[in-house]
């Protein structure tokens, strides 16, 4: 049985790879969408935060001798804490200014972080071993799933769902959503909006940090790992609709799968297909898939 001339195992294999890449796209664009949605800041430092998460995982293993599970908890916390410092020290001063300042500031912070990590750790990759429990594969019959990669997809799905529920279905989430529309009024209800905005940035940063830990066993841990990824993540967020959380998640996985399938049917286009999709979306529906018309 062949689909368009290709064996189904090949297609399913690429869909799986697409889901894995999509897991990272989804987690990272979710963080970006939260930060843009509430703070109206285009967080160019997101790739650097992701890289910091991967390095934190490596440090937990190489310097502290702890296992993967410890890294999974420590890295997002550490990156989240760093995010808090960035938000309090820098971002707070520019909220009232044009969006462009947020972009420039976070871009500068990204360059700073990446430069420092390159200075400290060099440009070569750091080794990070896949945890033992995830060595091997799950044979599902119609497709073979390497255990760790299956875990990445599951972990990201669970995280995306949990964060979505937190923001769309809880009280705290409704405060966040209301503060996006009218922060002064929300403050007049007795809610500390300044604390909310800091929390939003910390949450976004922690999500980036988590993505970094998950990435460490699969991708090379280098200071530049974020720069390659950040542009793709921006394309995902724009296509999904700026500030839409469900848009970020669904488009993240979707783009990953589209990229994977393109590798089967037209490999030459696989590195640009995401941007082609974004360009088409901007032409047909500028607000994005789930975005609200401004």
């Amino acid at each position: 049985m062949e689909i368009f001339g290709f064996p189904p195992q090949l297609i399913l294999g690429q869909v799986l790879i697409g889901l894995i890449n999509g897991s990272f796209y989804a987690l990272l664009s979710l963080g970006l969408a939260i930060i843009f949605g509430l703070l109206r800041v285009i967080n160019f430092a997101h790739g650097a935060l992701y890289m910091m998460g991967a390095f934190a995982a490596w440090m937990t293993q190489a310097w502290l001798g702890l296992n993967f599970w410890a890294a999974l908890v420590i890295a997002p916390l550490a990156v989240g804490l760093f995010g808090l410092v960035v938000e309090r020290a820098f971002l707070r001063s520019i909220y009232h200014l044009d969006h462009l300042y947020g972009l420039l500031l976070t871009f500068g912070i990204a360059l700073l972080i990446e430069g420092m990590y390159r200075y400290w750790f060099g440009a070569a990759g750091k080794p990070f071993t896949t945890p033992d429990v995830f060595r091997g594969i799950w044979d599902l019959g119609f497709v073979i799933v390497p255990k760790y990669r299956g875990f990445v997809v599951l972990a990201s799905l669970v995280t995306c769902l949990a964060v979505w529920l937190l923001i769309e279905r809880t009280r705290l989430g409704s405060y966040l959503r209301a503060a996006t529309e009218n922060p002064d009024l929300v403050s007049c209800f007795g809610i500390n909006v300044s604390l909310l905005t800091a929390s939003a940035y910390v949450l976004g940063a922690a999500l980036a940090g988590l993505s970094g830990v998950l990435a460490a066993p699969i991708y090379q841990v280098t200071p530049l790992m974020g720069t390659n990824l950040i542009i793709v993540v921006f394309a995902v967020v724009v296509t999904g609709g700026m500030g839409s959380l469900s848009g970020a998640i669904i488009t993240g996985y979707g783009m990953g799968v589209i990229e994977g399938l393109t590798k089967v049917f037209y490999p030459a286009a696989s590195s640009v297909v995401i941007f082609v999709v974004m360009a088409l979306m901007l032409l047909l529906r500028p607000a994005g898939l789930f975005g609200k018309e401004a």
Binding site: S174, Y175, G190
Partner: protein, 234 residues
């Protein structure tokens, strides 16, 4: 004599370089309804916003239940028992009517329960799952008042609650305000609708160019009618 609920002395406020309040002095007694009248641009809304702490740059003294709040942030000020119903109503588009109603956290005991609120405002009960902005102007105004009643603040700031509403809705709002008066709420009412304000206010003050130029009680309203026309007329 108990402390006034609100005591504002020589309040100045700036939006950037623009000096919008030039020394506002007023006080609001417990259970009293004070109306603030004035032309557009006189500084009425700015006064409410300055008391709430939303205008960052201010000077002078604002005492709430005797506590000085001029250095405090708006979320801390609100928790002293203030309830703000803004001019633009501030109904959140991304929330349903019920979510809007439940949004402000309860800051003081004694707020109305949901059932009581839906009894008072039955059309809000009907529209509870509609997105906030699908409600009519009158319904949005009711919702803006209802949600602060649930939160429990006993000092209510109403900024032009009747603006742009049909006479029959204005009647309804007048009924709500009268009910709040009998329940002992203290209210600061900013209005351009003279008749509405005179019907509910115990005292009235008139603002012009960022400060209060006269204050009179309901009993003296008639003798001030002419000067009012003067100050409020276009």
């Amino acid at each position: 004599m108990p402390d006034p609920v609100l005591s504002v002395t020589d309040l100045h406020a700036w939006y950037g370089e623009s000096h919008v309040l030039h020394g506002v002095t007023l006080d609001l007694k417990e259970g009293e309804t004070l109306a603030i009248l004035g032309r557009n641009g006189a500084g009425k809304t700015s006064t409410l916003r300055a008391i709430m702490g939303v205008i960052p740059r201010r000077s002078g003294s604002v005492k709430i239940h005797g506590r000085e709040t001029i250095r405090q942030k708006s979320h801390a000020i609100a928790r002293l028992g203030l309830a703000y119903v803004p001019e633009e109503r501030g109904i959140f588009a991304s929330l349903t009517a019920q979510e809007n109603l439940l949004l402000p956290p309860v800051i003081s005991p004694g707020g109305l329960a949901i059932e009581e609120i839906y009894e008072l405002f039955p059309n809000l009960a009907e529209r509870r799952n509609s997105p906030g902005t699908r409600l009519s102007g009158g319904e949005q105004q009711m919702l803006a008042i209802a949600r602060v009643l649930r939160a429990g603040g006993r000092t209510i700031f109403l900024d032009e609650p009747t603006e742009g509403l049909a006479p029959v809705i204005v009647e309804r709002i007048a009924e709500v305000v009268a009910m709040l008066k009998t329940r002992g709420y203290s209210m600061l009412l900013v209005e351009q609708n003279l008749a509405f304000a005179q019907a509910v206010a115990d005292r009235t003050c008139v603002m012009e160019h960022g400060h209060i130029i006269e204050t009179f009680t309901a009993a003296d309203a008639d003798s001030h009618a002419a000067s009012l026309q003067n100050h409020l007329g276009v």
